[in-house]
């Protein structure tokens, strides 16, 4: 009896990493789930990014193993949306609302098996996240009508991640 094994396989990868850029170094966490087909992986991920301002990136993840081996270097590309952790905050003087922006991360890494089903991987890459804010100040006269100030943030950093998956 021949049992055909599916070539598509579910894969999970949970990562913790360090973000390093112009601002203070910060931690990030990610979990990525998707489908592996031979050397290709496509999935979706979500994370917590503490660099400068806490955000939640939600992204598509594409990976390519260089070799068709269990231990192999790989390249990856993440792209998606970066959501602020909080939507708004107020003080006696002003109200700030936060708005999502784009997110991407590209890099290289190495993957190796530690048990039959489990693997670890380490990667290094370049990441960028964007978001914006609107600041409305309460002590403004009726006239002139003062529209909210707008801030746009573009934050670039190196990212080093270590992950455990199956």
């Amino acid at each position: 009896m021949i049992i055909a094994q599916s070539k598509f396989k579910f894969e999970n990868n949970n990562l913790v990493g360090l973000l390093s850029g112009n601002s203070k170094n910060a931690l990030q966490l990610q979990t990525i789930n998707g489908i592996r087909y031979k050397t290709f992986f496509v999935g979706a991920g979500i994370g917590i990014d503490n660099y400068y301002f806490k955000t939640v990136p939600l992204f598509a993840d594409v990976r390519k193993n260089i070799f068709e081996k269990k231990e192999t270097p790989f390249v990856y590309v993440d792209a998606g949306t970066n959501f602020p952790w909080k939507k708004d905050e107020s003080t006696a003087w002003q109200q700030t609302t936060y708005h999502p922006g784009s997110y991407y991360d590209i890099g290289v890494g190495y993957k190796w098996m530690i048990a039959k089903q489990f693997f670890v991987n380490a990667s290094f890459g370049l990441s960028q996240k964007k978001y914006s804010s609107r600041e409305k100040y309460f002590y403004t006269p009726i006239d002139p009508p003062v529209p909210p100030d707008r801030y746009n943030y573009r934050l670039q950093r190196f990212t080093m991640k270590f992950g455990l998956g199956f």
């Binding site: 390093s20 003087w93 290094f124 002590y139 006269p141 943030y153 080093m160």
Partner: protein, 418 residues
């Protein structure tokens, strides 16, 4: 061994990249803000245009005043809409009186009183569609002679603003700077009751800072109470000014008393001698924004917390004012974000922010029962009069028929242009 060497080389390479090439990364923050420059006009030219002009669309509804079949609706810092409300189901904007810097209004007889920045103007509205300026007194409200950092004077008036958006890059670690403008509030004329006298007064909302009682207009700014003699609309005279308290917001008349709502409490003034109000009593509450209305026995105060109003709770307070020298708290009701309120008989109307308009049976102050809640609007102020509630909201003027309390329904709406 080979793997170890490869790993060590890899880590070293990564450290090299991070350490030496970090400078190639660039975080960027841009700050976009609006620069406003005043547009001036001579006061003589401005005064020439203080009359009934062509109607304009409502864009920024402010204080409201009812007079007969007309509703006068302030357009923030621009003037007054004259609305023919003879048919509340079909109100029609008939004219607009251009008054730069106008924030408050009141009416007595055939005269409309309005602020124009620091000035008080009187306008003949015997024919509302052909209103004309009677008198202009400068420096009645000196706080308002400074607007957004610019000073007006007796020869020029700010009639508009040129806007220019500007974008600058700011350092990553900079504290964001913002401009704090002084908020200059002008007393708004407000009348609660209609008199059968020869010169009846109109009816204002609870957020008013003007109030007309007989031949005097009382106006509050942040700290002061002013009495202006208006027996002759062509000859307005300041009768007196006194320090009334801190952070005064609203004024409400009842018989020979004035109820002043402030961020710190309620102040009651006796105006038996109308030119010289005398402090009569007060009730202190935690810091909050505080419109107030009253009937013979009770004062109804909404406290709005948060933002500039202070950290207190959002609530409706009912005070016993049978002894006005010693008002006392009777009952508190939790609210969401209350502002203006109004009462007609035993029916109490409370504007409660995103929770909409709440209409209560207030026969028993200790047990207000909710008759209806209109969630579809975000009301700011309300005047309940003659079974028709006029509600100023963020997007216009709504009118609700409450002649049948079991069937309170929308009569009409005038919404802002977008």
């Amino acid at each position: 061994m080979k793997k170890f060497l490869l790993s060590a080389i890899g880590c070293t390479a990564i450290c090299f990249v991070v350490f030496f090439l970090q400078g190639c990364l660039k975080d960027k923050i841009t700050h976009t803000y609006t620069i406003l420059r005043p547009v001036y006009q001579t006061k003589e030219a401005v005064k020439t245009n203080i009359k009934s002009n062509l109607p304009k669309t409502i864009e920024s509804p402010g204080k409201i005043f009812i007079y007969g079949n007309y509703v006068f609706l302030n357009e923030g810092d621009k003037g007054v809409h004259i609305i023919d409300n003879s048919n509340p189901s079909n109100p029609v904007v008939k004219a607009f009186i251009d008054i730069p810097g106008n924030q408050d209004i009141a009416v007595k007889g055939n005269t409309l009183y309005a602020d124009m920045y620091g000035d008080l103007v009187s306008i003949d509205i015997s024919d509302p569609l052909h209103a004309k300026l009677l008198k202009d007194i400068p420096d009645v409200f000196p706080e308002r002679n400074y607007v957004g950092g610019f000073a007006t004077n007796n020869t020029t008036v700010i009639v508009g603003w040129e806007r220019k958006d500007t974008t600058v890059e700011v350092p990553l670690s900079s504290n964001k700077n913002y401009f704090v403008y002084s908020v200059s509030n002008i007393a708004t004329p407000q009348l609660l009751y209609s008199s059968a006298a020869a010169n009846p007064v109109g009816i204002g909302g609870s957020l008013a800072r003007f109030s007309i009682v007989n031949d005097y207009l009382y106006a509050v700014d942040h700290h002061n109470l002013r009495a202006v003699a208006i027996s002759n609309p062509n000859d307005l005279r300041i009768a007196g000014t006194l320090f009334a308290g801190f952070d005064i917001e609203t004024i409400y008349p009842l018989k020979d008393k004035l109820f002043l709502g402030s961020m710190g409490g309620l102040y009651i003034y006796d105006i038996s001698n109308p030119a010289s109000p005398v402090a009569n009593g007060n009730f202190v509450h935690a810091r909050a924004c505080d419109p107030v209305i009253a009937d013979n026995d009770y004062a109804y105060v909404t406290l709005k917390a948060g933002t500039t109003c202070g950290p207190s709770n959002n609530e409706l307070q009912i005070l016993d004012i049978k002894d006005v020298t010693n008002p006392s708290l009777l009952k508190t009701y939790a609210m969401t974000s209350p502002s203006g309120l109004s009462k007609d008989g035993n029916t109490l109307f409370v504007c409660d922010g995103k929770d909409g308009l709440k209409i209560y049976n207030a026969t028993d102050y200790s047990n207000l029962s909710l008759i209806k809640q209109v969630n579809s609007i975000e009301p700011i102020d309300v005047i309940a009069w003659s079974k028709n509630a006029l509600v100023v909201t963020k997007d216009g003027l709504y009118q609700y028929d409450y002649s049948d309390l079991s069937n309170i329904h929308l009569n009409s709406k005038l919404t802002i242009s977008k």
